[in-house]
Symmetry: C2
């Protein structure tokens, strides 16, 4: 029987891990907090410890490491991890974890790992071409082309969140302006909701957040909209329009069979997906006549990254 | 010696054709006007006649047909050709031309054909990953992935011109709003120039067009800008910014080695390319640190489509 592979998903607050057999069965899962102090050294040690605990002496076929930022996959080196404490640029994390866990390790951006997870086990199964849009604190993405994860010339393809949708739009954390992430991430939706309350609009959002606009999450906006508040509904419609334009841009460019929408904001559920489909029908109806596309929710939830990383490391074993 | 392949490029005003040996040498070229009357029947007959004249009795290995619109390549059927007279939807052009010319014929969108031409013989030679942006009356494009033309799940990938860059932008011919084509095509630039004159701005564009704003072409705007007119310069800067945002979106999404800029508007030349590069540095500098990209002019000019179509038809012969 071939050895299992290990998937580690490094997040700003948690490390998630799964042990996966070659046929795609999860043997075991584990999670632990990301050490808030101690820098990259402590985080690397925690990743190794979680991996060792999960492997429990088993021989591993490979280790996949999903990280929330930019990696140089060919060299196994981390480049830019804005949301994890520590100095990361240039750190040879693949070699370090490979040595600690006794198996070849590969680094992958976390949303690309989740995309690969959805391809193998989730909403992209059986699909040769799809795009993933993960809407949470940021907006990440991944592309599947000819049945495999598409990474581009240097391993950096898939930056769905920094597609400019509004030339004159607001500043984005990346340094640009009008990116999808600046317009439609969870914080962008929360900030738009906060503005309606701060500006004194008549909306049930005020009572829902107890007057504390910092509490206005996408989840709360969706709840208040579902209860019939027109201001919250308008915010959700705007969110769906922006995500629909993004999905439309990716569709006419790449002609995928599916657009998979994941991440925390996607938990707004069916009304959001319906709004995305409506926007696409209104704006790219001419294209959809020739090249139809399905808009579907992601299937794997928060485990997608660890699952995808494990499957990525175990490729060619099945 | 293997048989040559034939490339036909159907345009709204001309049909261009080349005969290509398997090693990529152009044996002969020919052009003829696209029949303005007589509909699809007459245009099909003209394509066959140009092809026969060029083949001159030689056996062909294949015929590639570049058409300015949407095709169903798998079935060899034309779907939507807005700029060629006649009823085209459903016409089995590949079978018709294949029968007339005695060789298997394949249909391809014209800018995708030009992209393939640039890959084989032009600005994309030796490149495994590049994107082409062709800026003329419309904006078309093509994608090269892993050294081959990328067409997506159903053959319709590469619609670079209908990337929305401005959520609230002007109406586009496709039915959407704020598309790159509506913002930065040749007519969009001409219209922006016309507005400066119509609004009475102090600009040398007025004299340059003899007061007839319909004469304000991109070429004329570039000339007036080069002569030092600040209004014309601002128009060119705006054009470069919009194309730079488009090129930036494609770059962070696909991580290409090159962005190839072609089409009539690209003849504004070095200042336009420099403006595109400047915009990309300002907006996606964070990304270019990890994934550098070259912005280069297309190399094949107006023959790119016919050359690419011929090479597409002759694939696997070399």
């Amino acid at each position: 029987m071939p050895s299992p592979s290990l998937g580690l998903d490094l997040g700003g607050t948690n490390i998630k891990a799964v042990l996966l057999t070659a046929d795609g069965t999860v043997v075991q899962r584990l999670a632990a907090p990301t050490p808030p102090g101690g820098g990259a050294e402590a985080v690397t040690a925690a990743l190794a410890a979680v991996g060792s605990a999960l492997a429990a002496g088993r021989t591993l076929s490979g280790v996949g490491v999903a990280v929330p930022g930019v990696v140089d996959a060919a060299r196994g080196v981390v480049r830019f991890l804005p949301n994890v404490p520590g100095e990361w640029d240039g750190r040879p994390l693949a070699a370090e974890l490979g040595a600690a866990l006794g198996a070849p390790a590969a680094l992958l951006n976390d949303v690309r790992a989740a995309t690969y997870g959805e391809l193998r086990f989730g909403a992209g199964r059986g699909c040769s071409h799809f795009v993933m849009i993960a809407v949470g604190t940021g907006i990440g993405g991944g592309l599947v082309v000819d049945g495999d994860l598409y990474l581009g010339a240097g391993g950096h393809a898939g930056e769905v969140g920094h597609q400019v949708l509004d030339l004159h739009g607001p500043r984005c954390g990346c340094g640009g302006w009008g990116c999808a992430e600046a317009l439609a991430s969870g914080p962008a939706l929360g900030a738009a909701a906060a503005r309606t309350v701060a500006q004194g609009m008549t909306t049930a959002l005020r009572a829902a957040c107890g007057g504390q606009i910092g509490r206005l999450t996408p989840h709360l906006v969706a709840e208040v909209a579902a209860a019939g508040d027109p201001v919250a509904q308008e915010l959700l419609d705007q969110e769906a329009e922006r995500l629909g334009v993004l999905a439309g841009n990716l569709t006419v460019l790449l002609n995928p069979q599916r657009v998979v929408v994941g991440g925390g904001v996607a938990q707004a559920g069916a009304p959001l997906l319906e709004g995305i489909r409506r926007t696409m029908a209104a704006r790219i109806g001419w294209y959809l006549r020739y090249a139809p596309v399905e808009v579907v929710p992601a299937a794997l939830g928060e485990e997608a990254g660890a699952l995808g990383a494990a499957a990525w490391a175990g490729r060619g074993q099945a």
